[in-house]
Symmetry: D2
Subunit: 498 residues, 4 copies
């Protein structure tokens, strides 16, 4: 139930090479990816200084939304000069999110020149890698896993940059969609399982990469294809001339493990990810839900039609899918707008003593009383994590005096944390675990007439696949982790506080 | 086509008397009224100082959104103390909007103590009033019409505060919904024609006023009734005790002249104004539009269903009304989400040389290609003012490759400026005037297959009324001004620049 | 003992007419007058708009030092355009200093156009004036006495601007050195007693006014003469052409009453005020003090010479005067630097529980141990007000292990508050009153070996005069107020809080 | 001629171990060391978290003065918790000063925990060290030489922290006074030649280090002794208990090479450095100058006495020394205050087209006309670097109409840049080089009657020494560099821009 959901999304990455306004294009791209991380944003550019005949690396990053971090236009035009750039929007996954040092892109010097990196995902053999690097006397300046990649690249004995990168990522396990900027090259790297999305496109002569294609639309770039699982794409001057990217391979996993939650909730409905349109999948999820869990019917014609309502804007598309599938056979339902969402986001003052979450819900949502009062209500939502927000939203709806409230979720119960880039709460905080999987108890806890979660099978049937239905990581619904997490260890052994 | 529309809304007012957290309640109320003015916000409170046995007036106001103006929590808790408060969200109507002095509430001292005022609307005999006051040696510290009311109150020879207020407003012509705070009283004043809305409610023991009832919902206050056209309501300690407001009258106009645009566009769908639910009226507008201008039909069953799409979020409700009325008889239509709106508002950097409005549209909206491509599209929107934004939005949609684009508007062409509080562009800038009322030319200019405006008659049939269908001001559609505007004159004869 | 003294100075005013960079000249002038008020600063300019054929008034003012209030260079070059300007540096005298509204220049509109005013001093018949204006229905937007002058000007029945000003100030009693800017004229006004200084000068073709001549030096302007007590000087286009100011008279008092404290402490030593160089008077004060209270002598040649030390920088000049007069006859003394002052001013963090004043002294001053240790010390300072800072400074010096500490003050004991523009503490807080005038008790309280105040007679003998020794206001030393203060009343009857 | 001098000073370091308010003490200490670097400031603390049984490192640093960087008191009390801390005030010596990453303390993680470092001075074998580290795959996150020390410590194969530090610094050449904070220890390190000062003291139970003793005075700490050249002092819990520091040695150079410029200009007169009071040395310099270059005499008794004036505040003490030595034999001189310095520091707006340096001088200094006019003037100043400021100051003085202006400098001509921590301009920019050492030409260029530089020999005679007169580095006067600078290389091979 965005924007109050306990899953705070993961991150958004962007890269561009060969454009005179590289930083401005990155700025727009990051704005389109803002939903993937509202905590911090940054852009790094490589600028050739013909006078000194060398490259200069410019960076600007800070806490806040993209529009606010880059609110001074001089930053884009005067500081972030250069024809190649990478950017990042961040919600912390590893590393404590409030440390300034941890904001990406990370940027360093090494023998080979400058290096900057933007990362969406999570490495899972961090403990092993860190121990090794520490033993070799490595200093760490952040508490993020992403810094490990930089050290491994710098330490590689390979001669060429691309080989250093291949060398480094062959040592790394986990989920990662990454853009790397060097003095004169841009690299895009995706993990062998293809957990997180990463799209590849073209804008006039220049090449672009982005977590989602909505970042291409805003700058009128064309989508070419996805970066393949296990692929490293390199762009440099000669690629600009040939018009054909250079492709290398870390090695592809036997099975793809795309994050199914990207389709359920994360990605924007106007994006295409994993080679399919998100809005199409989301409507399919609504349709599957309608088949599995039909809306109630009216007792008599005197009764008002059953209202099918969305939680704006996260379940808008799925609600349409649910409604359209339902109305074909059940003329008792009506699609209604029962919740109004405020567009003015930001931190709201909460008085000491006030119920913090409650006021947050009230500053975000209001009910349309005339729609809800004395009526059967079906709410479609994408997922329930902690359950606290759902509870308050249902409470808000109940105040408007509905006859019945039926909550239908387009995904199964969330039972396990994500180690591949999503910031879920701990296992103990998940309501499905708290109620020991007892759906009736959850229903009662939330104050509902009925509650339905989409079944695991229906979920898998609703998403597209290339090889097999198991092309997806569904660990948060099943607890089965497809990528080894034994080497995982919190990066911030030694904690910083800025 | 909020939030890019050329009508920048008018203002929001709020008042509360007798609540221990008066400033915090006002803060939430203003946040709910944020859509009525995003340029500046302010709160003034009256605080009794028992040590000095006198009242102190506290104020904080600045440019920016409510959450940002009051982002430092100490302002609400430590500065804005006191049990009564008034607030204001502003988009400039008179007075140049960027002058700090002009931000409301206005606050002054006079013989009778302190005085603060929040105003939504516009006075229309300002030239006459100002000349008189100037001749008497009055100093003006703002360039707003609202300051006139303060001078008239202070200069009244009446003894009692309420009589001073009645005296002052009997000299003023125009549209106004006003909250006035004095040391120990709160007044709500509404012009004799009732142009702008003003609701009256109760929160526990305290009394509240607000431009729209959505401001009551956020603080769980109960709506009692509207402040009547021409009514002055007074709240003080004795009213708190009796539980019954004191009502006075400036005089009621023969005919009410509610702003019909409040129903079409301004007010939030979850509010009740002019004693009717906004979402209900807006659905009715959609239904009337469907009757007048049906959606096209498919040529064959092979063709995809016709997509009825909304412009998020301004036409969401009207689109539902249109679709529900249509689908009863025409099974060829489908309600679809064809436009995605970014939630991250704020000023976007636009590069010199870039098309400013175009980038603004692109940073706000994206199309869902799969929905639009190769399909007949019906877009429902509330109004067309300058036409520039509509044109860019249609351009954006056309890029997604639709078969046909039919734009249907839930109001008639806008042909005349508003002198009662809305910030329309000049007569010359209105597209309906530029195209000399030729709808076909407007259609071609916007790049549409067809264009339909709701007829004036259907508009009037779709709104509720108490006395007669002429209970509404429709000047912007007709050019007939129900309140004399001859005495109107720009307040800022002498210009300030901060 | 600047900058920790309890007298927070009064204000600085500046005006210029006919200079293409009027705002920049004012900015430098105010910087030079910064010692006269560190709390807030502002500049107003009048700009002729040839397109609209009318004047525009620009203003910028805020809390903070001049350099910080105008730190954005665009304010000076793009906002504050125009060829005439007035400025103000403020320490609150009436009106609570922390209210934004009270920051000067005050700026208003009235029948005759724009009006802005900068004021140094204090009106003393405020109660009478305010009552009259309030009865006439006047609104007050500040809690300063200065606003009264604006109302009186606007209400004057006189036709010409200069006559309105003469009319207004003939009704006002008190101390005032004022610059008034209208659309096309600049006025300088000084009260009939000439309490506060106001200099008149020329910079190329343009004319300038300033509280002290140091503001002329910084912009290389030439000092012409003082504005005379009771004089109004008018500058406009025709004055620029003739090169000769126009002079009018409010009426001159029989006796001048220059503030003697300006010589003792306020004015900068490099300024000329009341037609005499400040450093010259201050050296004379030191000399008179030496005559009245000689430095101690050594017991033997083995003893280190007696160290005469200054309190940087407030007593630098007087210390030289004292030392030079002393050394002629007493070879046992040596001028030494015993206290070092930090140049980095600003609010220092003080931990809860720490002695606030003590840490403030320590962050400002340090002793030079080698100079002070085991030696007789004579400290020259300008005045003692509350005594708290003197006490802490003596404590600091005593820690360095002197043999004896003799404090000598270049003015008599302060026994009465100032109602003419200085911000002294209340009568009860003055150490001379607390100790009931017992100098020995003050000496003991401060931890001194000896304490000497310059006698009242020696003070009067040390300052220059035109008519008689009684040309000065010495109310703070005597309690005799030369200008009627019976009509004085706090302006902020109704208190604002921003 | 502070604060306009072209030598922008070097840096200030501070460290404290075992104090409950470690960050607050560091804050005061840095404020006292503000003159050693006004560009940026920072504090790092080590805090033991008993719950997690581990150390947390807190840091806050930013561009600006100490009072401004730490203006939010919560930073000191809530963020910078812990009982040990180090701090830094910076003017860039290596690394471009405007890069945020380069602000100190530097803070990293490594195998042994956290590490933070504050450095005053400059390493001189950076090229060699950097090449070696780069070849080993080291990443650099700053462009400062100081980062090298951290890498060397982390890479040391030694087991104990102190041995790692000894190992690291035995590889480093150059000038350095350094504080290093680890989880549970504080180290102070001084280079074998003792170029920069570093004092060691005690505050109640805790131990403190600071560049100058004035930082001890402000917190009432006691000076114990200097950290010896080549010494490493270690403080930990057991040292707190024993009350006796642990001392180690990198190795001491045969000859000490204290920076003689610290006595001439850098250090505060109230500090003790290199085991001598600065004010005493500075008076001695003045005295030597008087012996070498006496003041002129009057022609007749009608002539005003010759004015000996200081440049506030940099030459205050030396001027006293000069004057006192002179007056013994020459009764024609008088110590006068001829220049007034503004206390309100900060960047001043300079209009395009204005002479920038000229306005800077005018916003800082004004002359006292009555002192200078028609008189012979002797100005004492500490040094001439570029000569541009001296020229403008002399110009200012000449405008006041002196008879003669004699400038006397307490040091020899500056002819060579400093590679040990001072930020001198390049060799070509030094006026002594531009004028090819021709003093007469410099005199004429500056517009003086006469110019005298203290001779090299007199300089050496005026400073105290332990071993021999060659205990000092005088490279800037001679070009003889006592520490090898062949391995020196700009650190910022790859340039960052924030």
């Amino acid at each position: 139930m965005n924007p109050l959901k306990s899953i705070h999304s993961n991150c958004g990455v962007f890269g561009i090479f060969g454009h005179p306004d590289a930083s401005v294009m990155t700025y727009y791209g990051l704005h389109a990816l803002q939903h993937r991380g509202q905590e911090a944003a940054g852009i790094a550019t490589s600028e050739f200084d013909p006078e000194k005949n060398r490259y200069r690396f410019n960076i600007h990053k800070d806490h806040g939304l993209v529009l606010s971090v880059f609110s001074d236009p001089k930053i884009l035009t005067d500081v972030l000069k250069g024809e190649s750039a990478i950017g990042h929007t961040r919600y912390s996954t590893t590393g404590s999110g409030d440390k300034r040092n941890n904001i990406q892109p990370l940027r360093v010097n090494f023998k080979g020149g400058h290096l900057a990196l933007s990362h969406n995902g999570n490495f899972t053999n961090t403990g092993i890698l860190r121990d090794r690097l520490e033993d070799e006397g490595t200093l760490f300046q952040t508490t993020t896993d992403s810094e490990l990649a930089l050290h491994l690249i710098a330490r590689s004995r390979e001669e060429h940059m691309v080989d250093k990168i291949l060398d480094a990522f062959r040592q790394i396990e986990g989920a990662y969609s990454i853009c790397i900027l060097t003095d004169d090259k841009l690299f895009a790297v995706r993990d062998p399982h293809g957990v997180r999305p990463l799209a590849f496109g073209k804008l006039e002569e220049s090449f672009v990469f982005a977590s989602e294609t909505c970042a291409f639309d805003i700058i009128s770039a064309d989508y070419i294809r996805d970066v393949e699982p296990g692929e490293v794409i390199m762009i440099d001057r000669s690629v600009l001339e040939s018009g054909k990217e250079e492709s290398f391979s870390i090695g592809q996993a036997e099975k793809f493990k795309h994050c199914i939650f990207e389709y359920i909730y994360f990605s924007r409905p106007d994006s295409m990810i994993f080679e399919e349109k998100v809005d199409k999948v989301r409507r399919k999820l609504g349709k599957s839900l309608a088949e599995e869990s039909p809306a109630p019917q009216r007792i008599s014609d005197d009764e008002k039609k059953v209202a099918v309502i969305n939680v704006p804007d996260s379940s808008n598309t799925a609600t349409l899918g649910y409604f359209n599938a339902t109305v074909k056979t059940n003329r008792d339902v009506k699609h209604e707008i029962g919740l109004i969402r405020s567009h003015y986001v930001g931190r709201t003052f909460i008085q000491p003593g006030q119920d913090k979450r409650k006021m947050k819900v009230k500053t975000k949502f209001n009910t349309v009383k005339g729609v809800i009062n004395n009526r059967k209500i079906v709410i479609i939502d994408d997922s329930i994590v902690r359950g606290t927000t759902s509870k308050l939203l249902v409470e808000l709806i109940n105040k408007a005096g509905p006859k019945e409230v039926h909550l239908k979720i387009t995904s199964p119960p969330v039972v396990a944390p994500c180690y591949y880039g999503m910031d879920f709460p701990s296992r103990e905080e998940l309501i499905a675990n708290q109620m020991k999987g007892d759906i009736d108890k959850i229903r009662d806890e939330l104050g509902l007439t009925s509650l339905h979660y989409l079944s695991f099978l229906s979920l898998l049937k609703s998403v597209p696949y290339k090889h097999s239905r198991t092309d997806y990581c569904t660990a948060c619904f099943s607890g089965n982790y497809p990528i080894n997490i034994e080497g995982l260890e919190k990066m911030n052994k030694h904690q910083f506080d800025d």
